[in-house]
Symmetry: C2
Subunit: 343 residues, 2 copies
């Protein structure tokens, strides 16, 4: 197995900089769209079909030579398992028709047994491990990010309901977060048991919080999950707080091995501030629209700027967008491999 | 006249910390909604009616005792004056049905004479100056932010078209930005001539750019406008790059007197990084939903954290949201005045 990615996560010396990209199995790939069309079901149906999940997870590894695979799934799957109705509306994203607003809503949530309620995820992990020659990343959402969807009833712009609950009903907020945290902790442990070799926690909306609120309303739950994981597995843990440049002082205490950085921060500044962590990131996903030579120059500069890190996993600073030409992804992967191997 | 705000902008000693809040004339105020309903026209109609603009601009000053008034208008008004069709769609925000995508689109834009094309703005400024006992802030969008609306045809999430143009057709992008810059420069100069006593430049979308792209595709145009203004007026200039914590190294070279900070950064860190500038900000607009005592504690801490600044103008870190109870705004204004006066 190619364990370059795992070594970089642990801060060990590698022969080159490993790369994978967020949403690498996804809509920018014609091969993914083909599998999606073949099944005829919804996005959620795809997430629950281990054979097709395995197929789309393998695609970017086979096509581009990525150094890690990431389980094809959605961060909201375990929220559905908690007893909530989850829908995906075209052009609007995820919708929870019955948002969490009161104590009885929180009381109604169950802590699901992952083996019983999400066997398709664990089956996918097992199928993938039998096929893969690179490490498999399992993942979850971070409790704060998951809570925003439950409280808002879907995506949001200003997160009014979430912050209202935080600020005016902190007991209710914390009761909800504790349940989500317990669910997520069990879910990630089950992924590790099934064979996930790294676990990434996505805090997609952390960046809407002032640092003092992040420290109080988001970080403690990430710390709980990671300390639970440390007692039960030794897989490396990656934490990605999107738009989190002003939170690094706090995120660097979360307990993860690797901190993901979004594209808004110069990676050199990020490396200087993350302390003794490996970093993952952070090319602007839209930089994939640069002409070839400029794209390569930007990739090389990013690799050079990250040289001071305890470890560097090349990635985008956020998910690849569906309009991205796949050949541009190939340029980045090849450039990372070639340039970083020169040392 | 109460010139506390102007003194703070210039970094002079003040008896207390002045406050105004972004979007202080707006939908959270029943008095504003009344004026809006009375006119029966669209939002754009209101922007073009000096009598009603004057009325709504005065409201928050009279109701809360704000230390500055900000002209009621919209950053896209001069874009319409450049020859573009501008519409506001309910729930979707501004729409340009004919977005700028090609050289001929840029060629078709005119550099409007503000006196001829936007006389209602200048008339509003004159009416306001006759009424106000606090300074009047004029404003514009920053060229990059304005360009995103023109290129995308409205608001956006990932700004694909904007970045595609930047990265693949930089000549076209720069030609567009030069025209917007010239228009904005003339527009702000006309506002100063009409009586605006401070000018704020809103770069609402600066935060979507990686620092290297901000330095190349956004900052130079702000610098041009500010150096144009310095030759023609001595009013203080405020520059607000929203979500701009990672850009401060660059934004602090823009030439403004005051840098606005959004709520994502601890203001203490902001103050340490802005160099010899006054700062404006930066309470989370949603913190206005905190219970009274906690809200006051947060306001006091913010004032203390900003004490090292060359000057501090208290503000929110972004616009007040329409759902905000006006009495919460009153709590903040009173607390800022009382606590900061104690020294």
């Amino acid at each position: 197995m190619n364990d370059t990615f795992l070594k970089a996560c642990r801060g060990e010396k590698t022969d080159y900089t490993p790369i994978w990209i967020m949403r690498q199995a996804g809509r920018y790939l014609p091969q993914y769209l083909e599998v999606r069309a073949r099944g005829k079901g919804t996005f959620l149906d795809l997430c629950k079909d281990p054979a097709r999940c395995t197929e789309v997870t393998l695609q970017p590894v086979d096509i581009f030579g990525m150094d890690a695979a990431i389980l094809f799934s959605d961060i909201l799957i375990p929220m559905e398992a908690m007893g909530l109705t989850l829908e995906f509306h075209e052009g609007k994203g995820p919708v929870f028709p019955d948002p969490i607003r009161e104590q009885r809503d929180v009381d109604g949530l169950i802590i699901p047994d992952p083996e019983e309620t999400m066997p398709f995820v664990l089956a996918t992990i097992k199928l993938l491990r039998a096929e893969l020659k690179v490490p498999l990343i399992g993942f979850s959402g971070a409790p704060f990010t998951l809570a925003t969807y439950l409280i808002e009833g879907g995506s949001s712009k200003v997160f009014l309901e979430t912050k209202k609950m935080m600020f005016r009903q902190p007991q209710l907020y914390h009761a909800l977060l504790e349940k989500i945290t317990r669910c997520t902790s069990l879910y990630l442990q089950a992924q590790a048991r099934a064979g996930a070799q790294t676990l990434q926690i996505f805090d997609s909306w952390a960046g809407i919080l002032a640092p003092c609120d992040y420290a109080r309303f988001a970080l403690p739950y990430v710390q709980t999950i990671i300390s639970d994981l440390r007692r039960t597995t030794d897989v490396p843990i990656i934490y990605f707080a999107n738009n989190g440049a002003t939170l690094i002082e706090h995120t660097s205490t979360c307990g993860a091995d690797v901190l993901g950085l979004d594209w808004r921060i110069n990676i050199k500044d990020g490396v200087a501030r993350v302390g003794d962590h490996a970093v993952q990131g952070n090319l602007d996903p839209l930089a994939l629209f640069l002409p070839e030579k400029e794209l390569q120059n930007r990739v090389r500069k990013l690799i050079d700027d990250a040289r001071g890190a305890r470890g560097h996993i090349f990635n985008l600073g956020h998910g690849v967008v569906p309009q991205t030409p796949p050949e541009q992804v190939k340029i980045v992967v090849d450039c990372v491999h070639e340039y970083s191997a020169r040392g």
